[in-house]
Symmetry: C2
Subunit: 277 residues, 2 copies
């Protein structure tokens, strides 16, 4: 049953633009929902920064989403999900949904031989969040991880089908492919944009698990459970805001994901008076 | 003649760690000076961000350096030099020295045929700052520029002598080498760490201009002119502070530059009360 909160937006945040892969998945699955997306482009990337800094940024961005009346906060950034979701859940009353748990559940379901690979940023991988989440579902699964710090820059350069990208993917994935994984978690919201090239390098015997799709499913369940899903009779919209005015990668990502993005708003993440971004 | 201010430190800042190349050059040239280095690792990189954001960050970091009693502010970041130095000079009373003007002067002096190449981040190149600075010295010099957005990530991965780095350098430098430049400005403080590989790709007929060396010379002149150079009888020290607690690349860069770095301090760039970084 629709309540007063039903028409409020789903708040989605990422350190930058990569979280739009989650927005695309949400729009496919929940076309009636309004979505407010906030990309912290003024401080992107989070992937090499410390837990304390990532927590601080995530809480600040969460506050900005609540100011937009978000009924749920979707942390569409693996680094922030791995490092900051526990603290956000302590602080905020609205439900907070990260991408790590849905990705881990899908991986545990997918693997037939109990060997899962995880790729992500340096911060995500060294947090051990996926390994921990997968092993708390099934302690028998062997998890092989690889930090892939160059993939985000390569993706942001639009080098999706480039020799250099293939060389780097072969290096990053080599050891886990040799070890015989049958499932690979794309543990960074940028990576689905590179899905075809990753599939090519990983080969036909490896199932790719995309945290974006699985996160959207988790949000759908969460809205239903809380009785705050939008009425199916309406058509939802998408609003995008960034913390820095550079839009370069936004347009190419939106095009690749077939997202309609209108005017992009700016939000300040500086709290000093009289000096908005 | 030494004044009261002579023993105060030279304040050096960069978006991250790359500015340590300027510190190394300053230490070689001015061994008596104290240096306080501040790397804004919580918001690194600046190279893809907007002018307004880079200005705001630079002014904030400048303020932190003044709180350390800096007698001069050295902007050891090409992006901040290209985008924020004019505004910093309006705001701060202490001298502000960027890396663009010294680099442009050296390039204008170096070229014999009037064809100079400039490589840098996207923000530095699209600002046109080097082109403008070189042409205000000599309007007859043809300046060919290339944004090299992947070089900083490659350098931060320590991939100095790697095939992938060589492939990317060949792509970035190809057109300007074909056009026959005889001088190449390394317009990003990270790039001197890649000097050997760049020299290999550029070939023996291209002179590399390193903005770090030339910036250190400019600081030496500036201190002498203002009468605030340290007494030559003393030995200067180096203090390093970062805005985020991740030190990964710091140690490898310091090693490559043979810099002695002791304990690293933290400085907060968040102005909300009660939530220091």
């Amino acid at each position: 049953m629709a309540t007063e909160r039903s028409n409020e937006p789903i708040g989605v945040f990422d350190s930058g633009i990569g979280g739009l892969t989650v927005v695309a998945a949400l729009q496919r699955l929940l076309p009636s929902e309004n979505i407010f997306y906030l990309g912290d482009t003024a401080r992107v990337p989070y992937g090499g920064k410390s837990r304390r800094t990532v927590e601080r940024y995530s809480i600040e961005i969460g506050g900005l989403l609540l100011a937009e009346r978000a009924k749920v906060i979707v942390v569409a950034c693996n680094t922030a999900s791995a490092l900051a979701v526990p603290r956000m859940k302590e602080i905020f009353k609205v439900p907070v949904q990260g991408v790590v748990t849905p990705g881990a559940q899908a991986a545990a379901k997918s693997t037939l031989i109990g060997k899962v690979g995880v790729v992500g940023t340096r911060a995500t991988i060294s947090s051990g969040a996926y390994e921990h989440a997968i092993n708390s579902i099934n302690p028998g699964i062997q998890v092989l991880s690889a930090a892939c710090p160059l993939l985000v820059p390569l993706i942001e350069e639009g080098m999706f089908d480039d020799d250099v990208t293939k060389i780097m993917l072969s290096r990053y994935l080599g050891p886990m492919l040799k070890a015989g994984i049958d499932t690979l978690v794309l543990g960074c919201t940028h990576y689905p944009l590179l899905r075809n090239t990753i599939a090519e390098v990983a080969g036909p015997h490896v199932t790719l698990v995309d945290s974006a799709e699985n996160c959207a499913l988790a949000v759908k369940r969460l809205l239903a459970d809380a009785g705050i899903a939008a009425s199916p009779r309406r058509l939802g919209g998408l609003n995008v805001a960034l913390t820095d005015a550079t839009e370069g990668f936004l347009r190419s990502a939106a095009q690749a994901l077939e997202l309609e993005i209108g005017d992009v708003a700016l939000r300040s993440v500086q709290s000093e008076e009289g000096n908005p971004a």
